[in-house]
């Protein structure tokens, strides 16, 4: 064999002597006293670029919605003779079919939707996740719950909403319940999928062989590792929730006119899209910003939590 230029280096014999192992990646050594490590890590998400942007958008939207009565003290039902106008100095987003300012109505609509989402989405998320994870405690219960969720999934959101409204009567609480139930199969299945995946993981098996009880395994090992897709799903579900609200509002079972909601604005606006394309701009933009802020936050959370 012809001799090549041998590049030899003074290599040390292989070692894995623990204290000075170079192959291990440097770990963050800061240990802030107190506070749960998991919570601390979740909070770190809000310092990533995505987290900061998402949080900023959300904060602006939330502040605007909360302060709506202060910013627009005249309310959302001030009618003028100028109906379906485009953007102008007086009406930045134009006016609707009754000549009401669309900027004002969009902000108030956001306010309405926030009040629904803030309750309905977390409710749906927690209940759905809990239902999806039942299978960890009892196999039979898990299977039964899934079939029930399948049945709910079989109903279109609006039909389901109609059923709820028939029982509860129209209004805010009926909307919240309708949205929460509508989201159950969504979160339930996601949680179930995560559960089945986690059950096969070796650290879950390891915990079981240690003698850790089913409940503790679920709480400590399965849930923390299953929560990310559910959080991301929650961010996406916000948009779905607005559309369920819209569907019910437009058939008169949800938010009652003249109170605006993003959903009803969109639904009415689409009918006037030929005369006034500006109509749906405001609600659409707000809806996109809303879902984007949640998606960014969910993404940031994902990024901080999963490190390969």
């Amino acid at each position: 064999m012809r001799n090549n230029d041998v590049t030899t280096m003074g290599a040390a014999p292989p070692t894995d002597t623990p204290p000075t192992d170079t192959s291990a990646r440097p770990a963050p050594r800061t240990r802030t006293p107190g506070g749960n490590a998991t919570v601390r890590r979740y909070l770190a998400a809000f310092r990533t670029p995505r987290g900061v942007i998402g949080l900023t958008i959300l904060a602006v939207l939330l502040l605007t919605a909360v302060l709506a009565p202060v910013i627009f003290p005249h309310g959302y039902d001030q009618q003028t003779a100028d109906s379906l106008r485009g953007s102008s100095g007086r009406h930045l987003l134009g006016t609707d079919e009754l000549g009401r300012d669309l900027l004002v109505r969009t902000v108030y609509g956001l306010r309405t939707d926030f009040s629904i989402i803030v309750v309905a989405v977390p409710l749906s998320m927690i209940a759905g996740t809990a239902l999806g994870l039942v299978g960890a405690l009892s196999r039979v219960a898990g299977a039964v719950v899934q079939r029930v969720l399948d049945i709910i999934l079989g109903f279109p959101g609006v039909v389901l909403g109609v059923c709820v409204v028939l029982i509860m009567g129209p209004g805010w609480s009926a909307l919240v319940v309708a949205i929460a139930i509508g989201g159950l199969p969504y979160f339930g299945r996601q949680a179930r999928a995560a559960l089945l995946e986690q059950m096969g993981r070796e650290y879950v098996v390891a915990a079981r062989t240690l003698g850790v009880g089913k409940g503790a395994v679920l709480w400590r090992h399965i849930l923390p590792n299953a929560v990310d897709p559910i959080l991301v799903g929650g961010a996406i579900f916000v948009v779905v929730a607005v559309f369920i609200e819209a569907g019910l509002s437009i058939i008169g079972l949800g938010i009652q006119p003249p109170t605006p909601s993003l959903g009803s604005l969109l639904n009415v606006g689409i009918r006037f899209i030929e005369q006034s394309p500006m109509y749906i701009l405001g609600p659409t933009a707000v809806l996109i910003l809303l879902s984007m802020s949640f998606s960014l936050l969910a993404d940031a959370l994902n990024e901080t939590v999963i490190r390969k």
């Binding site: 064999m1 090549n4 590049t7 014999p13 292989p14 098996v205 240690l210």
Partner: protein, 538 residues
């Protein structure tokens, strides 16, 4: 040896552009591959051996980049070719064989079509390709080709699948084969067959092979020449026999020392005592749970079929067998992950079962499990400290003492207290396995079930973990049920050996008896198939 090199790699440099640093994964590597010869590139994980092979094919993944050097194939520098020209080289002049044949084959294509596809890409017409595909499958030793050619990959065993991958690689008569750990995922007996096949192809077709592996035994059996890589550089090179018998570089010397040898002295510290920690009697485990219908019972499949064995205090019983033989199912049945379908498990003389959480906890005080891959058996969301805490709390340690006991556990496995707050990803493989062992020790068990505890580790780390296990055994009078497919490791650590095949134990005896005087034909097959460093180079 006057032949011109087919492949000449000169001063190759590959840099990974990481966020905060430039990592030179391959740093000034040079070697030649000649026609009809097999060059082994050997090294531990992270040594840059796979990156080198990918650089030759121009298949380095982002953020890696070739930053210098030449790769000359028949005098032509491959690094200067553009992607289109490279497509003509890949598969045609240089072909690759991958580690995992299952991943390399398309699951929804018949195997003949996959070979034909490889021919089509390089411009062979249909009729010729069909005929040539059958010829290739024949050549790599697939039995009953006309029928087998119509099958799908999942209908083949791992070894047969790897043969198909090799057939695809050979399709266009490449002058160079690059094989990246092609036998690592295979059982020893299958590995022996694949190595035979590669040797035959070299002799019959005169193809040159670049063989990448971490296994010195395989190098000894197969390769003509070898280069040893460490941290991106070649630390030693030469004919196999010279490098393996008289290594000069300190790294190679250390590596050779760390490899368990088939002729090293056996353990002579078999415990005197007769106390039996674990006894398994006629154990059966049914692993078929798929119901064919609502009213029909599933046909039982016994992965463990009437196994009896016992482990005494302070001794290591090794359970040896190839994948699918039921050794892991057996151990998992003992700790209650699988349910037994028959037979008895006795711990310290009392029959136990692990159906409820309560029973499981009681069992966990005596028997603990150490998993093969510590990366997957540690929860990625929990620090080492949290994992230990959980085990300690289960073992009944009061909350106030947990921290002190955790530090103590880490000390037992030679880790410092600073590791408590680290997450699994911040540990190296060896350290992670130490954490896994520390966790198993939390309840002061009498028996550890070690399920391939060193298979996922580099040889040098493997040697350290084996030493650690031996020390722990002596200090705490622990009994081990050591599950492994690696006979050399088994020979080094065990007092007694049980050989398992198709769910049954075919031979059981002291390590010396089983290795020196195997009775069952299967044991003999296993022993011959195991690559033996010393025999190969003697």
């Amino acid at each position: 040896m006057s032949t011109e090199p087919l492949l000449r790699v000169h001063d190759l440099e590959v840099t990974f552009d990481l966020q905060d640093e430039q990592l030179k994964a391959v740093d000034g590597v040079s070697f030649d591959v000649r026609p009809g010869r097999i060059l082994g590139i050997v090294g531990e994980s992270g040594s840059g051996k796979s990156v080198t092979s990918r650089a030759i094919m121009q298949m380095i993944r982002h953020p890696g980049k070739v930053t210098g050097g030449e790769v000359r194939l028949n005098g032509r520098d491959l690094l200067r070719l553009n992607e289109k020209e490279m497509l003509a080289v890949r598969g045609k002049e240089v072909a690759m064989i991958f580690q995992d044949p299952q991943a390399a084959l398309n699951p929804v294509m018949r195997i003949k079509d996959q070979v034909v596809e490889a021919l089509h890409i390089h411009g062979v017409d249909s009729a010729t390709a069909q005929a040539r595909a059958l010829e290739l499958l024949e050549q790599v030793g697939i039995p009953n080709v006309p029928e087998a050619a119509r099958k799908f990959p999942h209908q083949f065993s791992g070894g047969m699948r790897q043969r198909v991958v090799i057939a695809i690689a050979l399709a266009n008569n490449p002058s160079l084969l690059i094989a990246d750990e092609p036998t690592t995922a295979l059982d020893v007996t299958i590995q022996a067959q694949i190595l035979d096949l590669l040797r035959r192809l070299r002799d019959e077709l005169g193809v040159a092979i670049l063989f990448i592996t971490h296994d010195m035994g395989v190098v000894a059996e197969l390769c003509d020449d070898v280069v040893v890589m460490h941290l991106g550089r070649i630390v030693e090179r030469g004919p196999v026999r010279k490098v393996l018998t008289a290594p000069e570089d300190p790294y190679t010397i250390g590596l050779m020392d760390a490899i368990p040898k088939m002729d090293s002295p056996l353990r002579d510290d078999a415990p005197e005592q007769e106390h039996t920690v674990l006894e398994v009697r006629e154990l059966k485990t049914d692993v078929n749970t798929a119901r064919p219908g609502w009213f029909r019972k599933p046909k039982p499949f016994y992965a463990v079929n009437g196994v009896s064995l016992e482990v005494r205090a302070g001794e290591t019983l090794a359970l040896v067998g190839e994948s699918g033989c039921g050794k892991s199912t057996l151990s998992r049945t003992v700790v209650g992950i699988n349910e037994p379908a028959g037979g008895e498990i006795l711990v310290n003389g009392t029959a136990v079962s692990a159906r409820s959480d309560e029973q499981r906890r009681a069992l966990a005080r005596t028997i603990q499990y150490v998993f093969q891959d510590p990366y997957s058996s540690l929860n990625p969301r929990r620090t080492a400290g949290q994992s230990l805490e959980e085990a300690l709390r289960i073992a009944g340690v009061p909350r106030a003492d947990v921290r002190d006991r955790s530090v103590e556990l880490l000390e037992r496995v030679s880790l410092g207290p600073q590791y408590l707050d680290r997450y699994p990803w911040a540990f190296s493989g060896g350290q992670r396995q130490r954490i896994g062992i520390a966790r198993a020790l939390a309840s002061d068990p009498r028996l550890l079930i070690l399920d391939e505890p060193v298979s996922a580790l580099d040889v040098s780390i493997q040697a350290q973990i084996l030493t650690l296990l031996t020390d722990l055994q002596k200090t705490f009078d622990l009994a081990y049920l050591f599950i492994s497919h690696d006979l050399a490791v088994v020979r080094e650590i065990s007092h007694r050996v049980a050989v398992m095949n198709h769910g049954e134990i075919v031979e059981q005896g002291t390590t010396e008896d089983v290795f020196e005087n195997p009775q069952h034909p299967y044991t003999r097959t296993l022993l011959t198939a195991t690559p033996d460093l010393d025999k190969a180079i003697a």
